[in-house]
């Protein structure tokens, strides 16, 4: 069983995925045990203190004071690359919140550090582990639609606070990574359009027109709309993929599998089966065993190449190469 230190309780803006997602998942996973917590730089420490109390584990001032095997890193984005690199150099395996770093250059530097460390680094690209998406990926890999030639994706959440970085940096990573996993192809060129449709602080919507290898094209729309009734703040209202191939079409509604529950007071959707974070920890565990995780730092490099090309496209108004 691997001993886990929860490092950082922050993210982009007000995010705390450690408390909301990673901590609880580690807590219940049979192959991991949480042995301590540690607040990240510039954090007030209250979330770390709460977690330490709830888990009945020590809170450390610095991660180098603790004895552990795996770090679950969710420090603020400006500090993420440095902390991850330090942990890898200290010989720790790392599960890292997304995005892995604040820039492509930082991500590439982390990739170098990971290669030298011989330790496992798994970026939290967990949406590709969704049950519907895993099945779709397998179907495509088995040639069920022939040769894919076009993909379309929509990833829309409702309510919650817009990411100060804009949702291109915060959310677009997910569908970009899912399509990367589904197709096994890299993006070569990006044309992007964005807007501030539901708030005035940052871009909350982006449309990405992607060119892949072998002439495959695709479009992704990503956004955070205003609040929607019966949807929790930040909850998904649309998450789907369409893959057109030489011999068929695959439609994936990633809001399934779920139960639709209707009562006098509300309607809600309840997930069926294991969550994507649980599956992410399975990936981490297998990766530690084999040294070859199914989700690796190279995936983070690819997504960051796409995001930065999109940022350039938004500035230039023209398609940009990755």
């Amino acid at each position: 069983m691997s001993r886990v230190l929860l490092v950082g309780f922050a993210g982009i803006g007000g995010q705390d995925h450690q408390t909301a997602m990673y901590g609880p998942a580690f807590e219940k996973h049979p192959e991991f045990t949480v042995v301590g917590v540690c607040a990240g730089p510039d954090e007030p420490g209250s979330a770390a203190k709460t977690a330490a109390g709830r888990l009945d584990v020590p809170q450390y001032e610095s991660f180098d004071q603790a004895d552990f095997d795996v770090a679950s890193v969710a420090v603020g984005l400006p500090h993420r690359a440095a902390i991850i690199t330090q942990l890898l150099r200290a010989g720790k395996h790392v599960l890292a919140d997304k995005p892995l770093a604040a820039s492509l250059a930082e991500t590439e530097a982390i990739a170098e550090a990971a290669a030298l460390s011989k330790r496992v680094l798994v970026p939290a690209h967990h949406q590709r582990l969704h049950g519907s998406i895993r099945s779709a990926t397998a179907a495509l890999g088995a040639g069920r639609v022939g040769l894919p030639w076009n993909v379309q994706a929509d990833f829309l959440v409702a309510g919650g606070d817009v990411a100060p970085t804009g949702e291109l940096v915060n959310l677009a990573l997910y569908p970009v990574d899912v399509l990367h996993a589904m197709l096994g192809l890299s993006v070569t060129r990006v044309f992007a359009r964005s807007g501030r449709y539901w708030n005035s602080e940052a871009d909350d919507f982006v449309a990405l027109m992607l060119d892949y290898a072998h002439g495959v094209t695709g479009t992704i729309t990503v956004g955070r709309t205003g609040a929607a009734r019966d949807t929790q703040p930040g909850g998904l209202t649309k998450h789907r993929y369409r893959v057109s191939g030489s011999h068929g079409v695959l439609l994936v509604d990633a809001l399934k599998p779920a139960l639709d529950l209707h009562t006098a007071d509300a309607q809600e959707r309840r997930w069926i089966g294991p969550g994507t974070i649980d599956a992410l920890l399975d990936v981490l565990h297998r990766g530690i065993q084999t040294g070859l995780p199914d989700i690796a730092v190279t995936d983070a490099v690819h997504t960051h190449q796409v995001i930065e090309a999109a940022e350039r496209s938004l500035r230039s108004g023209a398609p940009e190469r990755t």
Partner: protein, 332 residues
């Protein structure tokens, strides 16, 4: 008294217009023109034995002709339309209004100099789904619309290499032939001025095609809105029939996804969709045109037709160049 309508071009789309005329109490088919005599005679015979001719000029002198529906290949629309304007008849012309911006502008200008009505058959504005989306937006259901996604996907439907649609000189390319349906519809929904088009095309059915049987077109609008349109006759299996609509607004979103209208039929030959019964879009379009002739507001104005042609031309140029094309470039 009913309006006498001459139909020019006796292909399959003409049958849709004639069916709509048959159902109308305000207009009737009085004659047919087709350059192929056998086709004109056969069509006239199957529609009550109305008059027919191979010469438009002759038919336009028939006293019972008050208005004309043009269903000929796209590159002929402007010349025929200008002749109709000169003859003082009303015109409903199949889309696109023309295959070039200059032809479209010329045709619109000829009608602007008359008191006759020119309308373009952007029929999707008259389909139930197109009107329902527009009505919801106009009701304020989603606030200010800022983004639209529209996909109309299907398999190969054109005949063989002899089809004029496959000749870009005659059809204008797929962006003009079918793409204008989507470009016009999303622009109508968003009610904004398009400023550029970025498009990608694919020759999926055969590498030797001279048109793109799959189109992916992104329209950017003056007030910051965006629309993503896909038009396909390239999908397999050939029975694939898929329409997908999403419109996001400042106060909400609306959608009719691929399973939002049709029932699913599972049979020994596989699964297929069974669309819900609804109004006949061609009949709605005809009545709208007749309303406009009677002094009402047309479903589509000549300016709508010109703008749709400009967006279609921009899409074709964008595919060729790989870059976004501004409407200003195309309209200049």
């Amino acid at each position: 008294m009913t309006l006498g309508v001459l139909v020019v071009g006796a292909g399959f789309i003409a049958d849709e217009h004639i069916r709509a005329l048959s159902a109308s109490g305000r207009a009737s088919l009085v004659g047919l023109v087709d350059t192929v005599a056998d086709r004109a005679a056969a069509s006239a015979g199957s529609h009550g034995g109305v008059r027919w001719d191979t010469e438009l000029t002759a038919a336009l002198t028939w006293p019972e002709v008050d208005a004309v529906v043009v269903c000929t290949p796209n590159d002929s629309h402007a010349e025929i339309g200008i002749a109709v304007a000169a003859a003082g008849k009303h015109l409903l012309v199949e889309k696109p209004l023309a295959t070039t911006v200059s032809d479209a502008q010329a045709l619109a200008a000829h009608f602007a100099a008359t008191d006759r009505v020119l309308s373009v058959a952007h029929t999707h504005r008259c389909y139930d789904y197109g009107r329902a989306v527009k009505d919801a937006i106009e009701d304020g259901a989603i606030g200010r619309p800022v983004f639209a996604r529209l996909a109309i996907l299907g398999g190969w439907i054109w005949p063989d290499w002899r089809s004029w649609i496959l000749d870009p000189a005659r059809s204008g390319g797929h962006s003009l032939h079918n793409g204008v349906h989507l470009l016009d519809l999303v622009t109508w929904w968003l009610d904004d001025q398009p400023i550029s088009v970025f498009a990608r095309g694919r020759k999926q059915t055969a590498a030797e095609l001279e048109i793109y049987d799959y189109l992916e077109m992104v329209v950017s609008y003056e007030n910051g809105g965006t629309a993503v349109c896909e038009m396909s006759r390239a999908h397999r299996p050939g029975s694939f029939a898929h329409r997908d609509v999403s419109v996001y607004g400042s106060d909400g979103t609306l959608a009719q996804e691929w399973d939002g209208e049709s029932s699913l039929l599972f049979s020994e030959s596989g699964a297929s969709t069974v669309p819900a019964a609804g109004r006949n879009g061609f009949a709605v379009q005809l009545e709208s045109w007749l309303d406009a002739i009677a002094g009402g507001q047309p479903a589509t104005s000549p300016q709508d037709g010109v703008l749709a042609v400009a967006m279609g031309v921009a899409a074709e140029r964008s595919i060729a160049s790989g870059e976004p094309i501004t409407l200003a470039e195309v309209l200049s």
